[in-house]
Amino acid sequence: MPIEHAIRLGAMTLSDLEETGGLQNAMGRFNWFYLGSEFCENLLDETLCGDIANLQKKGKKVCLSTPFLSEKGAARLKKIFSVLSALEKSGKVDFSRLELSVNDFAAIELARTAKLPVKISAGRIFYENAFTQSKTYLYVLSRQSLRFLSALGIKRYNISAAGRKPRSNFHNKMYSLGTPDFKISLYYPYLNLTTARACLAGMPDIAPHQSISGVNCRRECRSGAFEVAHPWIKETLIIRGNTVFIKFPNKFYSSEKELTKLRIDRLVYCPFP
């Protein structure tokens, strides 16, 4: 099967992409669009549902990315699922072309109780329940970890490229994986290094007498990101909102065929972190 190509919008919305003139190009190059938010629930809202319907109308497949969820975030996601279900009933959304990427067990629970018949993938934080990665390797933790997540409906893992072709243990007999049936969506060129709930850029300072009720920001991350030359780290860090990224611009593979050995069947391009 040929490698699929996706574009992740992150903090950018579909109308932002249209305004910059990039939508038409994206529609030509990519068969998947990744919407939603992997790292912050403040970027989840119902307008995503309209975008999902529009993209599917244009023949595209969509992945709805979801982050760690507080009660507020869970309520927002529940509402999004409710709107999607209504759109599906009216024929405007096709669940067979919608994937849900999760970073919180609550998202899996909500999808289950909403009876959303969508495929679920492990997000770029959640995947660490089954894989471990560094700049030189990508290993399955154990067959039990794959089985645990497979029982929750997860057989696809969203992982960032780390700049080099990684060693893997997918065919190591000691792990008794048999013929692995998981798939990997490989994000490039930004890798998420660390995430805070209290947003680095957007959260106001918290006084000692303040016991906050949530993360109050003004969605500063929609306006841009910051490159940081850390005095002790060689690579440039990029901060967008609550997450610190590293950029690995070099392709580690010479042909897409090499990717299939790593069970990568989808490349997810991130135009920005």
């Binding site: 305004e19 910059t20 760690f68 969820l69 507080s70 009660e71 507020k72 869970a74 919180d104 067990f105 609550a106 629970e109 909500l110 934080i125 660490e128 471990t132 700049k135 933790l141 154990s142 039990q144 970890s145 645990f148 792990y175 890798l191 290094l193 660390t194 995430t195 805070a196 709930r197 209290a198 680095l200 850029a201 957007g202 959260m203 918290i206 006084a207 007498h209 303040q210 016991s211 906050i212 009720s213 949530g214 500063e220 929609r222 306006s223 841009g224 990101a225 910051f226 490159e227 940081v228 850390h230 005095p231 002790w232 780290i233 060689k234 690579e235 860090l237 990029i238 590293i246 920005f272």
Partner: protein, 323 residues
């Protein structure tokens, strides 16, 4: 509110109990625990530790909370066997983060009689996740530091209803603002260090970073006033410890009044003397919250508590004299 403390040697147990710890926990080689901190040498040493703790009336938990629970078939079998041995040696609970551990136990016919405690390394931010973990067999949830008490109301109500215990870290001795277990800042798995840096210091560079900060990926529609505010915040935060801390005196008091049962201290690298001193601090703080609440009522107690603990400069000894 009970105090639970880490320990790394048998000699610490009795003094920690005397300092106010009602429960203890430890890492035991070669069981995989989070971080690379000190651990008891082996299960034999743990057995001695459990005996001492139980004699003092303390329960003791074993940390098996590495999220990167990498196990080939041989290691998985060994993990289950070691946990079974730890249980026979006196473990009252296992602290677990990667739930595949439960599958590993089941595959090797180990049904823990010891309690299962969910590590904060598998962060639980809402009641739906809590329900999932409770159904999976956890009888205590160790809450992450990045959860505010106001956000935790539904979660705590569920735990009360289900008879599940809850635990928080002492905000003074657990500083990381990044989501625990998923932070790759300090260990260079991906980045390259220019030189070796002390652990935990990469997010506390203590130098002004303004000149090292450059706005990128903005468009003509970007709100540049917001970007300017964000830049100022980032400069300050990168220089001294990263994102704002949600855990503070007020959040502790609110968790206390919400009925959190355990307050945890977990800096295994501390010396024995530091551990004992800090456990006394935890005990003092919990007792202070209780006393103020009884004497002043919740509203005034909160104000007084926050004022006192904001003035805390490392020791509550002078508070004791003033009280």
């Amino acid at each position: 509110m009970k105090i639970i403390s880490c320990f790394t040697s048998l000699k610490e147990i009795a003094p920690l109990a005397a300092a106010g710890a009602a429960e203890l926990y430890c890492a035991v080689n070669p069981l995989p625990s989070f971080g690379e901190s000190l651990a008891l040498k082996n299960i034999t040493e743990f057995k001695q530790a459990a005996a001492i703790a139980h004699d003092l009336g303390l329960k003791v938990s074993v940390a098996v909370n590495s999220l990167r629970l990498q196990c080939d078939s041989r290691k998985a079998k060994r993990l289950a066997a070691l946990c079974a041995e730890a249980e026979q040696s006196g473990a009252d609970a296992f602290i677990i983060s990667n739930l595949s551990a439960l599958n590993i136990f089941a595959d090797h016919k180990f049904r823990p009689r010891a309690a299962l405690h969910l590590s904060s390394v598998q962060p639980c931010f809402n009641s739906l996740s809590a329900a999932f973990f409770i159904r999976s067999g956890f009888s205590r949830l160790i809450l992450p530091n990045q959860l505010a008490p106001q956000e935790a109301k539904a979660l705590l109500a569920l735990c009360r209803k289900k008879g599940v215990e809850t635990e928080i870290f002492d905000y003074r001795f657990f500083g990381c603002a990044y989501i625990n277990g998923h932070c790759h800042m300090h260990t260079p798995w991906y980045h390259t260090l220019k030189f070796h840096s002390p652990e935990g210091s990469l997010c506390r560079v203590n130098i002004p970073v303004t000149k090292h900060l450059k706005p990128v990926h903005f468009t003509e529609n970007s709100n540049m006033a917001l970007m300017k505010t964000a830049a100022c915040r980032l400069s300050g935060r990168l220089a001294c410890g990263g994102a704002p801390r949600m855990a503070n005196p007020a959040s502790f008091f609110d968790f206390f009044t919400a009925g959190i049962q355990y307050l945890k201290y977990g800096v295994r690298q501390d010396t024995a003397a530091a551990k004992i001193r800090k456990v006394k601090e935890l005990r003092y703080m919990a007792d202070l919250a209780k006393r103020l609440k009884i004497d002043l009522g919740t509203g005034n107690a909160r104000k007084t508590f926050v004022k006192k603990m904001t003035a805390w400069d490392g020791s509550t000894e002078k508070f004791s004299h003033a009280d």
